[in-house]
Amino acid sequence: MQKIIRNEIIESKLYVVGVQEKLDNLIVQMINENQETLKNHWLKEVNLFKEKELAGYTTTLKLSEETDQQFFELLIKHINYHDISKDGTLDQFFDQVLHTGLPLKYLTQGLQVARRVILNLLVETESDKEKLAAVYREIDSWLDPILNRVIENSSQIWERTVSIQKTALLELSAPLIPVFKNISVMPLIGSIDTERAKLIMENLLNGVIKYRSEVVLIDITGVPVVDTMVAHHIIQAADAVRLLGSTCILVGIRPEIAQTIVSLGIDLSLFPTKSTLQKGMENALEITNQQLISNE
């Protein structure tokens, strides 16, 4: 069989027109005829890779034989089509694999192993250098688009996840809640970076106008570290609130935070501070001439 293929390839060289097409068909034919051998080689190499590189994954996620089989069959099928986007099954498969949390390197490795085993087979049957180069180029032109597609899909999934989380985070990052008449609270939880600091300032000032707040309480109970940058942003925000004619009270200062603020030498005496939200609220009610009256 090998001899026939060889003769045909030599023959094909003679025709200028349709050479590429013929080479295509020959390679496809050969891949089809040797599918079983290719498959065995492929499975062996992929399994080796799985044992070595994905040891952590195999226990938690199903890297089943079935997935491997499906992967290889789809590859062969699409090589037959000469077109990877045909019928979209390969895309679906990749999406499915990525969504189950399997690592991208499983797919890229699978494709690279496929390239290797196919080329090995062709190298065994062909010794002419020029033709080998043509075959290499040919195989590359089939597999590269698939590889690109996989990487593109996977990065799209990541980008989408990151942007969704970013929006979700921004929505949570600086809410201003009107509590009583003329009193609002801004609870801050988590680390504050420059982007968030900007948002805090904006929401604070917009909220003060919108809710006609006379007093705004900024609660930093959930802020793990108050360094000079965070302090600076809080001071600026409080100062801006003061310019609008309202008062800003900083609450939720834990003892260890108080000590670090003093060590850093940060001056927070421009506005009132309280240890807890409750004390701050009492103070705010006083400032706005309001009282909580119990019904008893």
Partner: protein, 133 residues
């Protein structure tokens, strides 16, 4: 226990991871709440300086043991522009970035030992130690 851990600082999120590493190591060594806050704040200042002035660098945190005296050392390294006037940056209120100017003198007060070495156009190395009492 001479494991040294380093965190590359390239963006604002790296500051958070450097801080977390410092907090975990301080907790492990048995530092109390207040000292944990001091150490994390100091790391935060040093990491932010790297991010702001050098662009990139790293924060290394290592537990130290000198004749049975235990502590934690933070080393901030960068190959940035260096500091021209070290005496000035150690003064309270001196800033070139519109901040509070409390960073470096603050770190010195937060920690027990502090040293700074900087060469213009070569880089800066700041080392600060907190002893376990």
């Amino acid at each position: 226990m001479d494991i040294q851990s380093c965190v590359e600082v390239r963006n604002e999120w790296d500051i958070v991871s450097a801080r977390q590493l410092g907090r975990n190591m301080a907790k492990e060594l048995g530092f109390g709440n207040v000292d944990q806050a001091r150490i994390t704040t100091a790391i935060s200042e040093l990491a932010r300086n790297i991010y702001l002035y050098a662009g990139r660098g790293k924060i290394c945190i290592e537990p130290i043991d000198q004749l049975g005296r235990k502590g934690l050392r933070i080393v901030a390294l960068d190959n940035g522009p260096g500091i021209r006037e070290i005496r000035k940056v150690m003064e309270d209120g001196y800033t070139t970035s519109g901040g509070l100017g409390a960073g470096l003198p603050g770190v010195k007060r937060l920690m027990d030992e502090f040293s700074i070495e900087s060469t213009v156009d070569v880089g800066t190395e700041i080392s600060a130690t907190k002893w376990l009492r």
